[in-house]
């Protein structure tokens, strides 16, 4: 249903990907680690290899939590926009299907936060 406005309405998309200077927004959230109160947001080039996301971007932020250095990356369970997925580390974000404003969640079996509290 069209929006109800007096004389038509505007078509403004404030966060079009073109507005991010070659980047796209990617959100990353670590399950069972609520010390990170929310998913973290990053402006990243879509050509960035997934491996760089993990080693450069995520490590610089999620190392805030002591569990981070214990992560066994081969066991990590990934979820992209609500679906389980297997990222190809060598391929780019775009090639992995990570779109503008996509949400990547990762779960680290065996690591469940401070004293197992999921924090």
């Amino acid at each position: 249903m069209a929006i109800i406005a007096k004389d038509g309405y505007v078509d403004i998309v404030r966060d079009k990907v073109e507005n991010f200077h070659g980047n796209q927004v990617v959100y990353v959230s670590w399950d069972d680690h609520l010390l990170f109160c929310a998913a973290q947001a990053f402006p990243l080039p879509p050509q960035m290899p997934f491996q760089a996301l993990v080693s450069d971007v995520m490590s610089s932020v999620f190392n805030w939590h002591d569990d981070f250095e214990k992560v066994n990356w081969s066991q990590v369970l990934w979820n992209l926009d609500g679906e389980a997925f297997e990222p190809d580390m060598a391929k780019s974000l775009a090639e992995n299907g990570v779109a503008h404003k996509s949400l990547i969640r990762f779960k680290t079996p065996g690591l469940t936060g401070i004293n197992g509290t999921r924090i």
Binding site: I3, I4, A5, K6, G8, Y9, V10, I12
Partner: protein
Amino acid sequence: MSIEISAKAITPIRLSYGNLEERFGNKRPASRYQEAVYDVQPTANFQYRPLWDKNHEIYDTGRTAIVMEDWYSFADPRQYYYGTYTIARAKQQEVAEHNYAFVDKRDLLDELPDDIKQAVRDILVPLRHVEWAANMNNCQIDCMGYGTTICSVAMFNAMDHLGMAQYISRIGLLIDGNEVTALDAAKKDWMDAPEWQGLRHAIEDMFVLEDWFELMVAQNFVLDGLIFPLLWDRFERKLSQNGGGTIAMLTEFMSEWYSETVRWTNALAKVTAQESEANQQLLSSWLDKWTNRLSEALEPVAEKAFGTEGAAELAEVKQELLARFGKQGLTV
């Protein structure tokens, strides 16, 4: 020892809010007026376009053709914020209340000569509709305008006009022993009597003006600038001279209000015209347009009020108005 430390420690870390330090320096505390009005209105990063006006932001400098580098160039010479405003009006209303009660208690209006009573019914009571319109127009200026120094003045002005519309209504009730006959007759005149139609037509045209600053000129500069001197001053004096002095007790609020209002309309005209040649020309053209339109519309009212003297009285009032705005830098 600890007392000494405390006394020393309780020096302020700053004297004013940051925006006021930027505007007025940090040497002394800002006034309550300055705190209350400067930079309060949002100016940036609006979230959503109005569903009722997709072409503008919620607050938008583009709703008038007047251009100001700083919309806070204007300051109210009365320095009204809500507190000072209501306290000032409360004092005036206390006097008014006393006068209305006095007139009511002694049935003073009953004792007026019939022709005076009729003149009040014919000329003053219909003005409640003019005041009501002034209330609407100032609300429009407030909600469409830009900058809190201007918008808050419009808000206070709107409420003043509502108050005056209510005072006039009370005169209408008092004159007929709390019966609504005078109010009903005045409404009928306002809607149908030929002498009011030019004014009503002009006011209805003001209701649909798109530029809020033009409405400011038409309503607060021109219409008030004609009506108040002509009817709340000159006509009221005429009534007094003919045995209607009691009426002056009931209209004191209006004459006091107007002499106060002139101060801020002058200041606003001056600062806006000074800003640029373009503003000066625009203001002058609006002043010209609305002075002609509204003085023409008031001709039959002036004639009804003053008889053959009407045209001359109106012409004088018009000249005073133009001279006043001429002094503020408008071309007249």
